[in-house]
């Protein structure tokens, strides 16, 4: 009868003796082919003696005691360790046999063995994968000598140790008889650890240790409840001292979508960590600017996934912060349709969340829009769905009158404060873009005598000032465009005269957005057959850049109709779908991405990181203080002192809170031109008074 093989005990203990043997084994010396000696020497030379010594010492010291300091040290060195392991893996992959690997890297067995037995290292997904791959390299499918057979045995024992508990221990007995798979057992146990820990925390306040322990576990799916509990704890308990590095790691994982945690925990994270909040806001910007094709189809999904509207509705300072970021961005690129669509959708989602809150949980609207008069807030923040369709025209007239009053004061004063007021009013209109879309929809079926107010609103959205935006001039253009587009969609086949006129208007740098906006609303809401509309689109919208902007406008229209409880006719729904497909049809031209802006965002990201390291303060605390002081808007505190835009305009951080963030550093008035630099300067100039700053 064959005997049952005895389970080998404690691979980590056995491994040291085993490896010592391996290194000194006569078989190793016997098969030492001198021909490969030079190559081995070269590979080994890539590893400096001190480096190997350093990591070996670390592996030994980490294995000796599991204390808070060890944990912290391990998690701090994980990045370095990963690159060392990667290097080692590459070295091992070049070896022709395990024997050769053992000779070239005499430390490898002990090193890998120690790391595999260290829970803080093995728990890290990337380190774990690297370690397993190294072991795989050392495993011989057809062992040729005693060394390789012994190495195989050792590797199998090590793997066994990784997946099971030590035999004879209570842990082993409990897992063995749990009646579920070990995977489930550990998952359930981890969930319970979260609960137990939560119960004990408040009594002994040792959150710091726990959060330190969790640094390496941030992306571990099973630990998600515990991570969530820690984050929530940080807002429940005032004395909480959640480890900063832990928060940092969670933020990174969340923004890069490697983390699944509950909503409440994310809100806590945004409250606790300004860098994470800004990272989330900027990641949305990055996606609308860099990946417009995908994002424009599901903008609200992207916004809601990051839970920014939810968090903003619950915490006013979060809304103010996100808004401030978008305000500053819009000040730079106020013509960018995609950024406007993002702001509009974000605000809309936020308003929906705020309405859904119980009255006692939510703050009044005026707290979220501190600098704006009620005469503006009242008509604009009312959702179109709350106003009967028949009253839309009157409501839009009210909005127009309120805005016009602000604009008129600009003419009279001409000073910085008046510009600020116009900008604030305009920004609110961008946020509440659904009303301008409603105006554009009404213009499709309206008679000429009622069109004036609606055309004014549309013009104001795209041309808010007379400084560079040329509002007065564009009001005339809008009227002209409206007449041509109306005629274009009425006559069939399209008359060449109107076709040319619309094409000309669309090609003008100044009026293209306004005309496109109007044009697309006709395309969606006019009653002509859809084939006719697509025919016009094919003739008019040729340029790839125009098509992309058109997609953004359609996405805003779609969002307004679909998500804001305005009943959507099947006909319109079908038309939207077809129009989208027409616009998405392949096109030879490549899309232009504003590279300078992306560089700007990336640079900002880096600056934000360094800011949080140097101050260590939280946004939350600052904001509390700030709110006590005044109710004015929250400036972008963490912006670096100066950020260079590649377009040439220099922005400088303004220390004084009540002032604008950006001051114009350009002394001479630029000549009108079409170079990117001039346009950037011009954009900037529009929102800055001659006195320097809003």
């Amino acid at each position: 009868m064959q005997s049952i093989s005895k389970p080998e005990e404690k691979p980590e203990v056995e491994l040291h003796s085993c490896l010592m043997e391996l290194v000194c084994c006569p078989a190793v010396i016997m098969c030492n082919g001198l021909a490969r000696h030079d190559q081995q020497y070269q590979i080994m030379a890539a590893f400096s003696e001190t480096e190997v010594q350093f990591w070996m010492t670390k592996a030994v010291s980490w294995g000796e005691k599991t204390s808070c300091l060890t944990l912290l040290d391990t998690s701090r060195h994980l990045n370095g360790l990963r690159s060392f392991l990667q290097q080692l893996l590459q070295g091992l992959q070049q070896m022709s046999s395990t024997s050769e690997a053992m000779r070239t890297f005499p430390f490898v067995g002990q090193f890998l063995g120690r790391l595999c037995c260290n829970p803080c290292v093995i728990v890290d997904e990337r380190s774990q994968r690297l370690l397993l791959r190294c072991l795989n390299c050392l495993y011989s499918a057809d062992p040729l000598n005693a060394v390789e057979r012994k190495a195989n045995l050792w590797i199998k024992n090590l793997l066994c140790h990784l997946i099971s508990e030590e035999e004879g221990s209570v842990a082993h007995a409990m897992v063995k008889h749990a009646g579920i798979s070990p995977e489930r057992y550990h998952m359930d146990a981890l969930e319970k650890v979260g609960n137990v820990k939560m119960m004990t925390w408040c009594s002994n306040g040792n959150i710091n240790t726990m959060s330190t322990a969790c640094i390496a576990l941030v992306t571990c799916r099973q630990v998600a409840p515990l991570i969530g509990a820690l984050l929530k704890h940080s807002i429940i308990c005032a004395t909480s001292c959640v480890d900063e590095e832990f928060i940092e790691e969670v933020s990174k994982a969340w923004v890069s979508k490697r983390l699944v945690i509950e909503e409440e925990a994310v809100v806590a994270l945004y409250c606790h960590n300004p860098v994470c909040l800004e990272g989330a806001a900027l990641s949305l910007l990055e996606s609308v600017l860099c990946d417009p094709k995908t994002v424009s189809l599901s903008l609200d999904k992207c916004v809601n996934e990051l839970l920014l509207p939810q968090a903003s509705a619950l915490h006013c300072h979060i809304f103010l912060t996100v808004n401030e970021i978008y305000r500053n961005v819009l000040m730079e690129i106020d013509e960018n349709i995609s950024v406007r669509a993002l702001i509009q959708v974000y605000t809309n989602c936020f308003l929906q969340r705020l309405t859904a809150l119980k009255p006692q949980d939510g703050l009044p609207l005026s707290a979220f829009f501190p600098n704006l008069p009620p005469s503006l807030l009242c008509p604009l923040l009312t959702a179109p769905s709350e106003v009967p369709r028949t009253a839309w025209l009157d409501h839009l007239g009210w909005i127009r009158r309120s805005l016009q009053r602000v604009v008129e004061s600009e003419k009279e004063d001409g000073d910085a404060r008046a510009y600020q007021a116009v900008f604030d009013a305009w920004f609110l209109l961008v946020q509440c873009g659904f009303w301008v879309d409603t105006a554009a929809e009404l213009l499709v079926l309206l008679e000429a005598e009622n069109s004036e107010a609606l055309l004014w609103l549309l013009t104001f959205l795209h041309h808010p000032t007379n400084r560079g935006h040329q509002r007065s001039q564009q009001t005339v253009v809008a009227k002209e465009a409206w007449v041509h587009i109306r005629m274009l969609f009425h006559a069939r086949p399209p008359l060449p005269r109107h076709l040319c006129a619309v094409k000309d208007l669309l090609s003008s740098c100044l009026s293209r957005n306004l005309v496109l906006h109007l044009f697309l609303n006709f395309a969606v809401f006019s009653h002509g057959p859809v084939s006719f509309t697509t025919e016009i689109i094919d003739k008019v919208l040729i340029d790839a850049g125009v098509k992309q902007r058109a997609l953004w406008i359609l996405s805003a229209i779609d969002f307004r109709l679909n998500r804001t409880a305005v009943s959507l006719e099947d006909r319109v729904q079908a038309r939207l779908k077809i129009l989208r497909e027409t616009l998405l049809a392949p096109c030879a031209e490549t899309l232009l991405i504003p590279m300078d802006f992306i560089t700007f965002i990336v640079a900002r990201h880096e600056d934000l990181k360094s800011y949080s390291y140097s101050t260590g303060r939280t946004w939350h605390q600052q904001d509390e203080r700030k709110r006590k002081k005044s109710t004015s808007s929250v400036p972008l505190r963490s912006l670096s002192p100066s950020v260079m835009l590649s377009s040439g305009a220099e922005l400088s951080h303004c220390e004084q809170r009540d002032k604008s963030l950006f001051t114009n550093q350009l002394s001479s008035a630029p000549a009108l031109g079409d170079s990117p630099r001039t346009r950037a300067v011009l954009r900037h100039e529009r929102w800055c008074s001659p006195a320097g700053g809003l």
Binding site: K6, T66, C68, L71, D188, A189, N206, T209, L217
Partner: protein, 342 residues
């Protein structure tokens, strides 16, 4: 039904064979089939473990198979029903521990994803490795204890044990299965019983919506029916923890008092030392000192109503039973009461 039970028996035999030298003859296909059968076995377990009729049929067949295999293979350790839930894992561990296993066993690990998938084995072990190490790391990273004074790891394992017992006991007639489970756990954690008693205590304390406390009663019944188990448990747990348990369960409180009574009765008065000393003669149980008894009663008296009152009554009863003396050195109860100043 017979077919299923028959196949299950074959899988158990397969698990035994996976520990033998003959696995070196397994080619890759054989190994693949072995894992497939193990998976089948897990599915059968998932569907049948809660059904008392199926359960007892499976248990009895398992028992026979285990016995037969033990006769053939002297070092064979029996497979219990609950283990069938992790058949694939068990097979993998057996093969890894077996020096004769084919070298392709390594491909079960997601080391080289492409190779693994080509070979048809897709048993990603990453969640197990990560889960195990995460648990170890969280539980070892601090020496925190919960309010009952238990280690976090112990408490978690206790909660999971209680949950498992509760699942088994949701069906009437499964009480015996629950006891078999506790037997197996005791058998497999031999040598580390102190930790086991902590886990049992945690299971007794685990609060959930188990309104009739069936699982708690089963654990207590099992402890009492095993010679010395309850006494060992009480000795291993701190006086404070025993008080917490007494507050939670009247059954435990009575059993605990009974254990204390037996400990006290095993003390003899040494006139030369003027003290109560343990006698070694009575039972195999290790006896405790007078001071230990004193500490435990004091803890009970300090643990508030109604445990305090009940302990006082019990002490008074025991004093009367042992002759109701008021002078020191005759009855251990009188001396305890005098020292406790009840």
């Amino acid at each position: 039904m017979d077919d299923v039970v028959g196949r299950l028996q074959q899988v158990v035999e397969l698990l035994a064979v996976s520990q033998l030298d003959c696995v070196n003859e397994w080619d890759h296909q054989t190994m693949l089939r072995a894992f497939e059968w193990a998976q089948y076995c897990e599915q059968v377990h998932a569907r049948s473990h809660a059904n008392p009729a199926l359960r007892s049929a499976l248990e009895s067949r398992l028992h026979d198979t285990n016995q037969r295999l033990r006769e053939t293979l002297p070092s064979y350790s029996p497979v219990m029903l609950s283990e069938l839930a992790q058949c694939q894992h068990k097979l993998l561990v057996n093969l890894l521990r077996n020096p004769s296993s084919p070298s392709s066993i390594i491909h079960v690990f997601p080391i080289d994803r492409i190779t693994g998938e080509q070979r048809g084995l897709d048993m990603d072990q990453t969640p197990v490795i990560t889960g195990k190490s995460a648990l170890k790391m969280l539980c070892c990273s601090s020496d925190w204890t919960s309010y009952s004074g238990l280690q976090v790891e112990t408490e978690v394992r206790g909660k999971l044990l209680k949950r498992h017992l509760k699942t088994i006991l949701t069906q009437r007639g499964n009480e015996n299965s629950a006891r078999i489970l506790l037997d197996s756990i005791l058998h497999d954690s031999a040598g580390k019983t102190e930790n086991l008693y902590d886990v049992m205590a945690a299971a007794l304390l685990a609060s959930d919506d188990d309104t009739n406390n069936l699982s708690r009663d089963v654990i207590l019944g099992w402890l009492q029916s095993h010679d010395g188990c309850l006494s060992k448990l009480c000795r291993s747990l701190s006086p404070r923890l025993c008080c917490v348990l007494s507050r939670e369960s009247v059954t435990f409180q009575r059993a605990y008092c009974d254990v204390l009574r037996r400990w006290a009765n095993s003390l003899d008065y040494d006139v030369m030392q003027s003290a109560w000393v343990p006698t070694c003669s009575i039972t195999s149980e290790k006896t405790v000192t007078f001071n230990v008894l004193f500490d435990r009663f004091r803890a009970l008296l300090n643990s508030g109503s109604p445990v305090k009152e009940e302990t006082e009554t019990k002490l008074a009863e025991l004093k009367v039973e042992s002759g109701d003396f008021d002078v020191k050195g005759i009855s251990v109860w009188t001396d305890l009461i005098l020292q406790l100043k009840v």
